[in-house]
C-alpha cells in the first residue's frame, strides 16, 4: 500500500472527531478528510456520557449566566474568551444536532426539554433521557455516513505523529486487522482522542481512554496544559466505577452518609430543603454543587468514619426512592438499569451505593480558541484538548457541548490551514513508516526478555497516581509519584510481550497505550507538584489556599529528555474578575 494522503486527518472518531469531519465535508467539500480511530466510531467513549449537554435555550436563561457558572465552576482558571465562545456557539450546535435527528427529550408542546445540573444556576442541560452521549454519538456517526467524502480508517492504532519542517505531515499507524504499519499523509492533523482516565485505577472511563492524542502531541513538543486538574465524579458504582449520572441529583436525588444524614450541608454547600419542598433540588446548592467540592466532601466524611464500609471500599448512599418509579423510569432509566444489573439495587426502593471515581481530564493539549496548538497544522478538540473552558473543575454537561463547539472550530481552522499549506513530504512519511515498522517488529521479536508484563506495569502506574496525585495531594506524595513514574518508564523499556501475532495484537496496542499513559501520568504528577496552591480539583494539603497572585495561570508541561519543564501562561480574564466561589448562599 502506498502512502495515502488527505488534506485533513482527524485522529479519533468520537463526538469531537465526527463533528469536525462533518464540518469539513459540509462546509469545505473541496477539502479531503479522513478519520482514523483505534475503534469503530460508535465504540468511542462519548457513547457513555449520560446526563446531558448544556446550552442556553430558554427565556429564563442567559449566555452570561452560563458563562458565569462555568467560570466560577472552574475556580477562575478557565479562559474567559474561550468560555464566551463556548456558551455563545452552544445553542446553534445543539439545534444543529436536533436537525440531524438527535432524539432530545421534549416538553409537552414539543420544544426540547432541559434539566438542572451541578453548578448551574438555571436549568439548561439538554438531554436524551440519560443516554445523551450515546444518542449524540450515534446521531453524529449516522450523519457522517451521508458524506462519501469522509474516509475512515476504523481500527487503526496511531503510533506517531510525523513532523517535519515544523508542521505535521501525517501519522504512522498499525492496521489492527493485518498488523501492517502504514503512513498516512495529511497537511493538517486534528487530535480528538478523548481523555485519559485509565491512568488511574478506578475510573468511569472505558478501556480505550489512555491519553493517546495527548501523548502524541507531548512527544511532538506541544505542551500539555493544566494536567494537574483531574475530575473525580462523586457518584460511581463501587467495584466497577460505572457512572451514575449527575442527572440523578438534577432530578432530586440526595446523598446521605451512614447515618442517613445529608452531609453536604457541612461543607459550605448550603442548607438542605425538605424533599417535598417545591424548590428542591436547589440549583448551585447541596447535591447540585460542583463535582470537585462534592468529591472532596466524600473524602472528609470517610476520614471521619461516616461512610459505609463495603466490599469494594467505602461508599455513601445516593437516595432516589422519593422520586418514585415513574420519574426514575422516564427520566433516568439507565440509572435504574445499571444499578439493578451491577450492584443488585433497585433505586425505586433502595439507595444506590456510590463513591468518588476518576471521570474527566480538565487538562490536555494546549490550544487557543481556534483549536490551534503551538505546532502550525496541528489542532485538537474535545477532552484531549485544553482550550481552556473547564479550568480547575468542569461543570457537568459542558463537555458534550465543548466537543461540538470546538470540534467544529478545529475543522474550520484546519480547513483554513490546508488552503495555504505546502504538500506533504512523502519521503519523510516513508522514512517514518519504515522506522515505526522496524520498531514494532524488533519489539515483537525481542520483547519477551523482561520480567514486567504490560498489565503489571499498568497496575503499578494506576496505584502510583492514585496514591500520589489523588483528590488530596501534597509535596511528598507527588514527589513519590514523579519518582515512581520515572522508574516505571525505565522498566517499560524491557516490558515483556508474549503475543507475536500480527492480527489484532491487543497486547501490542496495550503496550503502546501504556507508553502513552506513562507520558500523561508524568505530566499530571509534575504539573501537580509545581502548583503550590489549592484550586478546584487540585487540592494540596500543604498549600490549602487558592493563590491568585502566583497561580492565576495555566501550567504548560513540555517533554524534555529528563523531567518535564513546567511553564505558565496567564489566564484570560474578560468580564469576570476572580472572586470567591460560593454555593448555596446566593
Amino acid at each position: 500500500m502506498d502512502v495515502p494522503v488527505h488534506d485533513v486527518l482527524i485522529v479519533g472518531g468520537g463526538g469531537a472527531g465526527l463533528r469536525a469531519a462533518i464540518a469539513i465535508a459540509e462546509e469545505n467539500p473541496e477539502i479531503t478528510v479522513a478519520v482514523i480511530s483505534k475503534v469503530y466510531p460508535m465504540r468511542s467513549h462519548t457513547v457513555a456520557a449520560e446526563g446531558g449537554a448544556a446550552a442556553v435555550i430558554k427565556g429564563n436563561d442567559s449566555l452570561d449566566d452560563h458563562a458565569y457558572d462555568t467560570i466560577s465552576g472552574s475556580d477562575w482558571l478557565a479562559d474567559q474568551d474561550a468560555v464566551e465562545v463556548l456558551v455563545s456557539e452552544a445553542p446553534g450546535e445543539m439545534i444543529q444536532m436536533e436537525h440531524w435527528g438527535c432524539p432530545w427529550s421534549r416538553e409537552p408542546e414539543g420544544e426540547v426539554a432541559v434539566r438542572p445540573f451541578g453548578g448551574m444556576q438555571t436549568e439548561r442541560t439538554w438531554y436524551a433521557a440519560d443516554k445523551t452521549g450515546f444518542h449524540m454519538l450515534h446521531t453524529l456517526f449516522q450523519t457522517s455516513l451521508k458524506f462519501d467524502s469522509i474516509v475512515r480508517y476504523d481500527e487503526w492504532f496511531v503510533t506517531g505523529l510525523v513532523v517535519e519542517d515544523g508542521r505535521p505531515q501525517g501519522v504512522t499507524a498499525i492496521e489492527l486487522k493485518s498488523g501492517e504499519v502504514h503512513a498516512i499523509g495529511a497537511k493538517a492533523v486534528i487530535l480528538c482522542t478523548g481523555g485519559a482516565g485509565r491512568v488511574y485505577p478506578f475510573t468511569t472511563n472505558s478501556a480505550i481512554k489512555t491519553g493517546d492524542g495527548m501523548a502524541l502531541a507531548y512527544r511532538a513538543g506541544v505542551p500539555l496544559k493544566d494536567m494537574e486538574f483531574v475530575q473525580y465524579h462523586p457518584t460511581g458504582l463501587p467495584g466497577t466505577g460505572i457512572l451514575i449520572t449527575e442527572a440523578a441529583r438534577g432530578e432530586g436525588g440526595i446523598l446521605v452518609n451512614r447515618d442517613g444524614y445529608r452531609y453536604l450541608q457541612d461543607y459550605d454547600l448550603g442548607e438542605p430543603l425538605d424533599l417535598d419542598d417545591p424548590l428542591h433540588p436547589q440549583k448551585r446548592t447541596m447535591e447540585l454543587g460542583p463535582r470537585d467540592r462534592l468529591s472532596q466532601a466524600f473524602i472528609h466524611e470517610r476520614a471521619q468514619g461516616r461512610t459505609i464500609d463495603g466490599p469494594h471500599g467505602d461508599y455513601v448512599n445516593l437516595d432516589l426512592t422519593h422520586l418514585g418509579e415513574r420519574t426514575i423510569t422516564r427520566k433516568i432509566p439507565m440509572v435504574r438499569e445499571l444499578a439493578v444489573r451491577y450492584v443488585g439495587v433497585d433505586p425505586v426502593t433502595e439507595p444506590i451505593p456510590v463513591r468518588t471515581v476518576v471521570h474527566y481530564m480538565m487538562g490536555g493539549i494546549d490550544t487557543d480558541v481556534e483549536a490551534r496548538t503551538l505546532l502550525p497544522g496541528l489542532f485538537a478538540a474535545g477532552e484531549c484538548a485544553c482550550v481552556s473552558v473547564n479550568g480547575a473543575n468542569r461543570l457537568g454537561s459542558n463537555s458534550l457541548t465543548e466537543l461540538l463547539v470546538y470540534g467544529r472550530r478545529a475543522a474550520r481552522s484546519a480547513a483554513q490551514f490546508v488552503g495555504e499549506a505546502p504538500d506533504v513530504s512523502l519521503a519523510t512519511l516513508r522514512t517514518e513508516q519504515e522506522a515505526a515498522r522496524q520498531r514494532i517488529s524488533d519489539w515483537l521479536s525481542t520483547g519477551s526478555s523482561g520480567d514486567d508484563t504490560v498489565a503489571g506495569l499498568r497496575s503499578i502506574l494506576n496505584d502510583t497516581l492514585e496514591e500520589g496525585a489523588g483528590i488530596f495531594r501534597d509535596e511528598s506524595s507527588l514527589q513519590r509519584a514523579c519518582d515512581g513514574i520515572r522508574d516505571l518508564k525505565q522498566r517499560f523499556e524491557k516490558v515483556r510481550l508474549t503475543d507475536t501475532s500480527a492480527t489484532f495484537n491487543y497486547e501490542l496496542t496495550a503496550a503502546l497505550e501504556l507508553e502513552n499513559m506513562l507520558d500523561v501520568g508524568e505530566a499530571i504528577a509534575h504539573s501537580a507538584l509545581a502548583r503550590t496552591e489549592s484550586r478546584g480539583s487540585h487540592q494540596r494539603t500543604d498549600h490549602p489556599e487558592r493563590d491568585d497572585e502566583r497561580f492565576l495561570n495555566h501550567s504548560l508541561a513540555y517533554q524534555t529528555d529528563r523531567e518535564p519543564r513546567i511553564d505558565y501562561r496567564d489566564v484570560v480574564i474578560t468580564r469576570w474578575p476572580p472572586g470567591k466561589r460560593t454555593y448555596g448562599t446566593d
Binding site: V47, H99, R106, Y342, T503
Partner: protein
C-alpha cells in the same frame, strides 16, 4: 473447616475459549482457562483476568464495560450475549464456553470481522432527511413526547451485532440487510421530522430487505437494549405495503 473443591466460591471458574490465530494456525481450537471465582464478575471480567494474569495472547474487543459501546458481544454457551452484561455466576460452577459471534468471519480468537454490516449500514439512509428543512437560526423542529416515543425504542441500537448472530436468515444468506440496519431505517421512517421514507424503500423493500425476514423473532429475543428489530421490520412491512396499496388506489397520494 478446610475448603474443598466442592465448596461454592473455592472451585475455579472454567472457561473454554475459542482460539484462532490466523498467522499461525489453519484450524480453530478451544483453550481451557481456570481462574478464581468472584461472584460479582461478568464474563468480560473473567476474560480480562485471563488477559492480564494468565495469557496475554487472547484477543477480544471491549471498551465501556457498561453495556453501551457494543464492543464485547460473544457467544456464551451458544447464546449471543454482551459479555459485560452476563455474570459468571449465571453459569458457575459449570464450564463457560466462549466463542466469537456466530454468522461472522473470525478475524482472530473472539474478534469477528463486521465489515459486512459497516458496508450495509449507509445504504439504508440512516440519517434524518428533514421533511421540511429550515436553517439552524430558526430553532428546533417541534416533536411531541408521543412523536418521540413512536420511534425512540428503535433508536436505542448499539450496533453490538447480537441480532445478526441470532438471525437464522442472515446465517443462511449474508446478503440480507439484517435486523439492526432495517430497524434503524424504520427508526428514521417513523421520526416525525423525517421525509425520506420513499427514498429508503429502494433498499429496505429490496430483495435483501424486509421481505427476507421470516419473523422468527430471535433478533428481538437476544437484543440487550430492547430495540425489538423484529417488530420494526414488521412495522416496516405493514407501512410499505400500505403505501403500495394506497399508491395503487390513489396514484400520487404518497408524495
Amino acid at each position: 473447616m478446610a475448603p474443598t473443591d466442592t465448596d461454592p466460591g473455592t472451585r475455579p471458574v472454567v472457561l473454554d475459549v475459542f482460539r484462532f490465530l490466523p498467522d499461525a494456525e489453519t484450524e480453530p481450537r478451544f483453550q481451557r482457562y481456570e481462574i478464581p471465582y468472584q461472584d460479582d464478575h461478568v464474563v468480560l471480567d473473567a476474560l480480562n483476568h485471563v488477559k492480564n494474569e494468565v495469557d496475554a495472547t487472547l484477543s477480544f474487543r471491549w471498551a465501556c464495560r457498561m453495556g453501551v459501546c457494543g464492543s464485547c458481544g460473544m457467544m456464551v454457551n451458544g447464546e449471543p450475549r454482551l459479555t459485560c452484561e452476563v455474570f459468571v455466576s449465571e453459569y458457575y460452577p459449570e464450564p463457560i464456553r466462549i466463542e466469537p459471534l456466530a454468522h461472522f468471519p473470525v478475524a482472530r480468537d473472539l474478534v469477528i470481522n463486521m465489515e459486512d454490516f459497516m458496508e450495509k449500514l449507509p445504504t439504508v439512509t440512516p440519517w434524518l432527511v428533514p421533511a421540511d428543512p429550515k436553517p439552524v437560526e430558526e430553532g428546533e423542529f417541534l416533536q411531541s413526547p408521543a412523536q418521540l416515543a413512536a420511534y425512540k425504542r428503535f433508536s436505542m441500537c448499539i450496533n453490538c451485532m447480537l441480532c445478526y448472530s441470532a438471525c437464522p436468515v442472515y446465517g443462511l444468506d449474508d446478503t440480507f440487510m439484517g435486523p439492526a440496519a432495517l430497524a434503524l431505517a424504520q427508526r428514521y421512517n417513523m421520526d416525525s421530522r423525517d421525509g425520506a421514507k420513499a427514498e429508503r424503500a429502494n433498499v429496505v423493500t429490496s430483495h435483501e430487505g424486509i421481505w427476507e425476514c421470516t419473523y422468527v423473532g430471535d433478533c428481538t429475543r437476544v437484543c440487550p437494549k430492547e430495540v425489538d428489530p423484529a417488530g420494526a421490520i414488521q412495522m416496516a412491512k405493514l407501512s410499505y405495503a400500505t403505501d403500495w396499496v394506497k399508491s395503487m388506489l390513489l396514484p400520487g397520494a404518497n408524495r
